[in-house]
Symmetry: D3
Subunit: 313 residues, 6 copies
């Protein structure tokens, strides 16, 4: 790869090299976590559920009372352009994500322009690719999700300090583990960047979204479940339910549905990954995406590992 092949970032109307994509230290996104964002991934270099992500971005902006000064159509065009500009930097069998981030800009004053960024990011295959076969691990943290009276978890805000604290706490138990935060009411909420689904008696259950993002991937899972005739409901879930579920999986833009086999250091779901319902969801997801999501992740994770080893050598 030559030097000029740098990733391109949309920053306040300009396309700039990633290394030049910087914001003022006075930007409210930096001083006050005063921004919202999204993560849109590609399948075969095409955006997946782009409208849904942009609609959720607009919902976040509305609650944040930030005006992006861009229409939905304009944002859509920028995402598509971001994909086009950056796809040459990714392998044909790879995929990637576009992160729109919109902050209040330099001032809270009405009329002050927002900071608008659309940036590409790699998918961290190396972190999760192997989990489809072995199962991911989760750890319940003492750190909780913030309640809606502070700011609603359904807003994809950049004020995520506690997510980091939860991640660090989970790693104390198990360096491989994803944190699992409870809501202030003691119910299971979510991971820092994924939702949780459990399968109990043939039914998929995911937490009511009082303390979690309304995951677009989760919605896809629900749609697929509906097509497959698998009942799926939102309801309050407690750790007991996770520990005793027939199957558990995490849903996120990156990994679609990632089976879980370990919770708080304890084998769950009989240690088998993925369970039969998760498998059916994954298969249907692959059909929908036009990519064998498990195969891709596994392959790319192997590639990532090779690179790490090569670099270490």
């Amino acid at each position: 790869m030559t030097q000029k092949a740098e990733r391109q970032v949309y920053l306040n109307g300009q396309w700039v090299n990633e290394s030049a994509a910087k914001v003022s230290i006075s930007d409210r996104g930096f001083t006050a976590g005063d921004g919202v964002y999204e993560a849109i991934r590609t399948f075969r270099h095409k955006p997946f559920r782009l409208d849904d992500h942009l609609e959720r971005l607009c919902n976040s902006l509305r609650v944040a009372r930030i005006d992006p000064r861009l229409s939905m159509e304009q944002m859509k065009a920028i995402v598509l352009e971001a994909i086009e500009r950056n796809r040459p930097l990714f392998d044909a069998d790879d995929d990637f994500k576009i992160y729109p981030t919109i902050t209040r800009g330099l001032s809270m004053k009405a009329g002050s322009p927002a900071t608008v960024i659309f940036a590409p990011r790699s998918i961290s295959w190396g972190e999760f690719g192997r989990h489809y076969a072995t199962g991911a691990h989760i750890v319940t943290t003492s750190v909780r999700k913030q309640p809606p009276e502070c700011y609603d978890a359904k807003v994809k805000s950049t004020s995520r300090f506690h997510h980091t604290l939860a991640d660090i706490e989970a790693a104390l138990v198990d360096p491989e583990a994803y944190c699992l935060m409870l809501g202030m009411d003691g119910n299971v909420a979510e991971n820092r960047s994924s939702n949780i689904c459990i399968v109990r008696k043939g039914r998929i259950e995911t937490p009511s979204p009082m303390h979690c993002l309304r995951g677009i991937t989760t919605e896809v899972v629900f749609e697929l479940a509906s097509k497959l005739g698998i009942p799926a409901v939102e309801k309050d879930i407690q750790m007991y339910d996770v520990i005793n579920a027939d199957e558990v999986f995490l849903t996120a833009t990156s990994f679609c549905a990632l089976p879980v086999t370990r919770a708080n250091g304890q084998t769950i779901c009989g240690g088998k990954a993925p369970g039969p319902v998760t498998q059916r969801i994954l298969d249907a997801f692959s059909d929908l995406a036009g990519v064998d999501v498990v195969e891709q992740a596994t392959r790319r994770a192997a590639r990532a590992k090779e690179k790490v080893l090569a670099n270490a050598a």
Copy 2:
């Protein structure tokens, strides 16, 4: 003022012009509100309670598990240098603030360096200077402070999205008002950047710090009260107490002790500013600081207004 007289910012070991002080859009301070900060003000261009502020910064860093790779002494030296470098840009009778901001940097990985910033900021005299004579306004918001299980309000974190929401909500009632957030337990917590004190039957009361920053200015007020023989306690306070207090004042680095005369659109404290206890605290504060804090703020606010008018003309 000539063009080169730009403010100087310490950024990761370098002194740079303020306009050049930028961070990567991948900095975790920007993507995840994953940083902590402080605000140190000067009196007569000397830092006030510098040790206390740096100690609190270290406390925040410890909870955040961010390693600044700077000793307390090094940070102290940087603050002093920041003052020296920037004081030529401020009038002799003006004062200013230094904001240390330390984020986790570009990665959560252990060993990845933090982003370290020490930046000067003006004191917003124009916003509060007139309130010493007329009394500031406060509005209780439906937005609440986050509970300690999420992340402790005593950590001066940059994840402050809800502070902005509270500010906007308060402004709907009264554009001049400071927001007043309650904690999740329904007790009075704090403003976005100041603590609240009430005076009831000759005693100063401030909320227990479960849902608020342990304000250094508040601690100064308690020390002064102790010297003046005014009892002062931390306790749970409800809005009833604020509305029916003999005196109410806000404490912050910028304004020391700012009298309040209006809450939720209703005149409180008989509408008089400052009350006798507040006045004694302000007098003692001025003695301690070596600056007549009310006189300075009033004068600088008038100056700021003149400038605004001059610019508008």
Copy 3:
């Protein structure tokens, strides 16, 4: 209207002129908010859902442990008589409400008779009639609904001090606004005298009744939705959902379904009133009631405005 045409009130077995309808200052309804009530409206001078309202009244009485010493049939007869006695005082194209109010009377002692009142009240067309076209406004208050451990919001109790506080607080933001209280759990509860419904992806959602009255009008809306094939569910709703809903409407005896277009000073639902689902519900409601509810409210509101202007002249 001649002088003798005064409204007639049933008061402890007697029909008295409204101006003579008084209770002792020792009545527990006055000293302790120790009573329950209902509001039954007419359509074309016929009571609407009378049985439902009286059943809910009996439910309230049961929880309150107040014995009205009247059977359901007797109460029904009184309502019908109240309508007959008072309808000459209302225009043929107008409608009105009958308020049963039953308090514990003068003493808590067992056997002490309740105070029983059935009184007519005008519908406040002037307040809401114009909102069908422009949309009503709502404001989330810091005041919350009381939790069921205090007294259940499903009991239509006269202890409504906080409802008044919420109304006043909402008016600080927007004098036209209806307050919207949250429950103690942070979920959306209700307005002082109406329920809230939102429409999201074609489905009507209304808060689970932990912190709100089980609205009879809301039940009618659910029945109509069922007939129209519109899905409708009770679930926990947060302010995020209201702000980002496709449509929002309030339900109450007076206004059936009143579209909302503004929340906390912010335009919601695209600012359009009523939305398509709300419109279908309103149409079906009009069919059921035998009155074009929007047309009636709009006309009566115009009439009320004329009167006000005439009086002012």
Copy 4:
């Protein structure tokens, strides 16, 4: 007593016979528990702590945003006149109470006059007089005090529906018992019309006033304790503390300090009434009041019993 010797009530500027003291069924005090009140008792036909009661009334009015259109001095004069007008109706060795009650009147509209009542009431000696010797009983209810986010318990509001429910629930366990409500946080709050104090290791403790009225009698007890060298503190108290206290007593305008010997059907405090600290408080109270409060209550209770027996004969 001749027929015309009826009690006199101040009602909106008029002195009227008690039997004629009535309010409209549209008064918001009746329709919405939208009022506040006080209870001022006499000792030897002189008001006790009149200024404190009126100050608390003003505090309640301020939170309620009700304007009584009376100055503090005017209210004071009315109380004194109420005592003068009514004292001929009470025995020389008896005492009584004056209840100011101020509601929002007929309308929430700004400028609409409040309803203002000052009414005499007998002290219910018959209910509590015997408890000084035997100890009163308390029962913890499942009914809780409302949290400050609804309306602050420190406001003496007439919206007291749950107090009645708590009273009825307590009577199910023990018809003699006073209810004892917990706050929403699980701490001991208060009885429907009295505060609770416990004595532990020589120290008087009373609940922090988050969920209870700031009792004026309790404040008197604290003053007396201070004079007697008995430590006294406000703090969070749980039922464990009540059950295991050395002494427990209730404080109220009527009964000063009433010893408690039974909680939830269980003997507490060794079954002895009053305990030594309570006795010292009662003695000091009698000195302050100029009346042997226990002797008076005991004598008047006996008199009341005689009357009941005479009536029954």
Copy 5:
């Protein structure tokens, strides 16, 4: 009955006489409530829903992290053997229960063996048999169920101290009553050993299992309801709903579905037992169990009463 006909208990691999079935005072089941259990009843001396009970036992063990060192199959065999060994001690028309109890044993150390007990118990017909005809009584207690953050109510743990406190408290109101605990969120939870179901408008409702055991009998009731075409849902229920339900019944292994006619000293459900839906459930339950459950309980209760009277004579 001869002396040797003593009940047989499985205790750590041995079958011992009930009177000899003892555990060390150092067993963690005794020192720390550190165990879990189940209750399996027979119908016609055959276990009912044995697999479900053992699966729930395994779920409890998994959360408790106790290893019973027995497979599901082994536990099943022990239950069957326990029935065979003990059934000669019960009348042919009687039934009984087997209680598996598994504690952590003598030590928390990994590898330390659990204490494993399978013991027979009589069904307490005498306590509940008469309630099918007259209705059981319930009393809401101030004692609450523990929240899932402490330990999940779905784990059938032996740490049930508060259940006893609740029972005692309920008996203060009504010696016949079953306690009804609320969860920490104020919703109806459960009795010490049974779930509650209400019938409202033809639908069976039972509390969401955040604060209660997921009752196997309740699940049977839901299955029967499904077969009978009766809608049945899990949802948050408040005491208002219980007091105003059309029918209320308790579900437990012993009594299947026991009608309730009294709550907190107040007649509910019109005082009729059982209501029509409850009757249909009971009939279907009898069909399923192969025993007329009401007839059996009534007959055995009468037999028990005879014995008590005979013993008293």
Copy 6:
């Protein structure tokens, strides 16, 4: 040691060998965690604070409504006898504990006798002795202490299932760590069998006892602090305070005051054990106890280690 030298346990009026000290599997202490207990340690084979421990036992019994049928004096005599009977089994320089445990016995029925046990236990020197020099570790768990509405943490109940869960969870992070539970309000509560104290600016702070046992050792620490002129207060403490304290120590009967240097895998208190205030407390404690508590623990821990090694050899 010969075979007959077995420890002696008081069991329902009998002195029995420890190995014979057993309870029925029907004992409510075993089936329902329905008991209370204490732990009294000796210094030089004399009981320490015996009266305080027995008084707290009586407080627990009162809340539990268990009647031990023993007077305070009788219990005292049994403890003394237990010490005398068992001290020959302990080295002269060793010490031990006596555990009174009293359960409700075989039945909840009034009049059914309690199970009363007084048993000796070794002090687990091997577990904590080395921590005086190196500092103990603590880990905040997601498991919480139960709230007082369930059963008060001040009652030393045997229903301690969650304590075990917390211990296991803490060990996942750090096998050496003591768990630290939060209360339901998010404040720091306690370890499974010790209280926590922090030192901040020269003042000792310990959590208010809403969610923790009122530790007798903590009370001794407060008495010693008072004598030493060290301020000491009960107040709400959050994890921030623990992480940023100058010193942290645990208090328990066994270890008096045990310094802590690690929290959640992070070095706290500068990693030094014990800190200066802790040292002063330990010195004063040793004076009071007549034993150098650190020296004894260190020596006995070394002895224990030798034994383990000898056994392993």
